[in-house]
């Protein structure tokens, strides 16, 4: 009975072949609140990157780091608030808690990744949860992106305090977001599905003075 953990854990692919219409968490918001197209005057642009694969890894840093290096080829951020990306910038791992990390990969990759991680981790004490359906990623890009965030989050987003490669969970208006900064001009908000509409409408309102545009 080796690999008992792998054998006893039931996994399933949440993306099925069935022809079921799939809607992003913001579909309703686009219909109801509209989506102003970006113009030359837009100093900030918002876009949703829907249907990405989100996995939460729980466990010891040393054990997970070995598996993640072997499977994804990037190292686990060991320092608090760390955000690590692969060379293409498509796959990322973020420190969430001393024993918890958020992995975001292109949509469709998450089930295979989960299985390969489970195989690599074997009998180790860990948990992997697929939370892809529960949250979505909203990007803010442009010179005024930081100003929109300053109006919205309690966290200090000044570049000296929030350099590229940092990510925090914090309060956004009356909800919470995972706020990440993968590059100089781009900020990412990982939003809970049930709060996506609220966050979207808040951002439209907060970004109005910067002529916010929505790329779809």
């Amino acid at each position: 009975m080796s690999n008992t953990a792998v054998e006893t854990v039931r996994t399933f692919d949440t993306r099925t072949e069935a022809k079921i219409p799939v809607e992003s968490p913001l579909t309703y918001s686009y219909r109801r609140s509209g989506a102003p197209a970006p113009t030359a005057k837009s100093r900030v642009v918002m876009r949703e990157r829907a249907f990405l694969g989100h996995l939460v890894l729980c466990g010891g840093a040393v054990v997970l780091d070995g598996a993640v290096r072997a499977v994804l080829g990037i190292s686990l951020p060991g320092e608090p608030q760390g955000l690590v990306q692969d060379d293409e910038g498509k796959r990322s791992i973020q420190w969430v808690s001393p024993d918890e990390w958020l992995v975001i990969v292109p949509g469709g990759e998450e089930f295979e990744l989960e299985n390969r991680l489970r195989a690599a981790l074997g009998d180790a004490h860990f948990a992997i949860s697929n939370v892809s359906g529960g949250q979505t990623l909203v990007e803010l890009e442009g010179e005024a992106a930081r100003e929109v965030l300053m109006k919205s989050v309690v966290y200090d987003v000044h570049p000296s305090h929030f350099p590229v490669g940092k990510g925090v969970t914090t309060i956004f208006a009356k909800t919470t977001v995972v706020l990440r900064r993968p590059s100089e001009e781009r900020w990412e908000l990982v939003v809970r599905r049930s709060f996506a509409d609220y966050t979207y409408r808040w951002l439209l309102d907060a970004g109005e003075e910067y002529a916010i545009g929505v790329e779809r």
Binding site: P80, Q81, S97, P98, E100, V154, V168, T169, T176
Partner: protein, 115 residues
């Protein structure tokens, strides 16, 4: 508003991100089946309300979601220290300026490193 240093995140965060969870260092009776009703009642319901230094349990609810301890002065509201679960406070009612033994311990540790 407090500006609280989360020992797990390693930085200061706004109070909004935290929730207080009452008094810290409350030990569950080792043998609940055989302890007296008074002991069990004390453990479940009775809390200290000191004037001055108080050890509290807080949780970084929006953030790393870890529980940790805060030593706070209930008169001045000053936060003297925050420390992880399982650790002991440096500032106590007996040693409001910091435990001398803790300093001695770190001093001996430092000497150990040097040696």
């Amino acid at each position: 508003m407090f500006y609280i240093h989360c020992p797990y995140c390693g930085e200061y965060r706004e109070e909004e991100e935290f929730h207080p969870k009452g008094e810290a260092h409350i030990a569950r009776p080792a043998d609940p089946e055989n302890c007296s009703d008074d002991e069990w009642g004390d453990y479940l319901f009775f809390r200290d309300n000191p004037r001055g230094i108080h050890h509290e349990l807080w949780v970084h609810a929006v953030g790393c979601r870890k529980f940790f301890n805060i030593t706070r002065n209930t008169v001045s509201y000053e936060i003297l220290e925050t420390y992880k679960m399982g650790e002991q406070p440096t500032y106590t009612a007996e040693h409001p300026e910091g435990r001398p033994s803790a300093e001695a311990e770190t001093a001996s540790l430092r000497e150990g490193v040097r040696a």
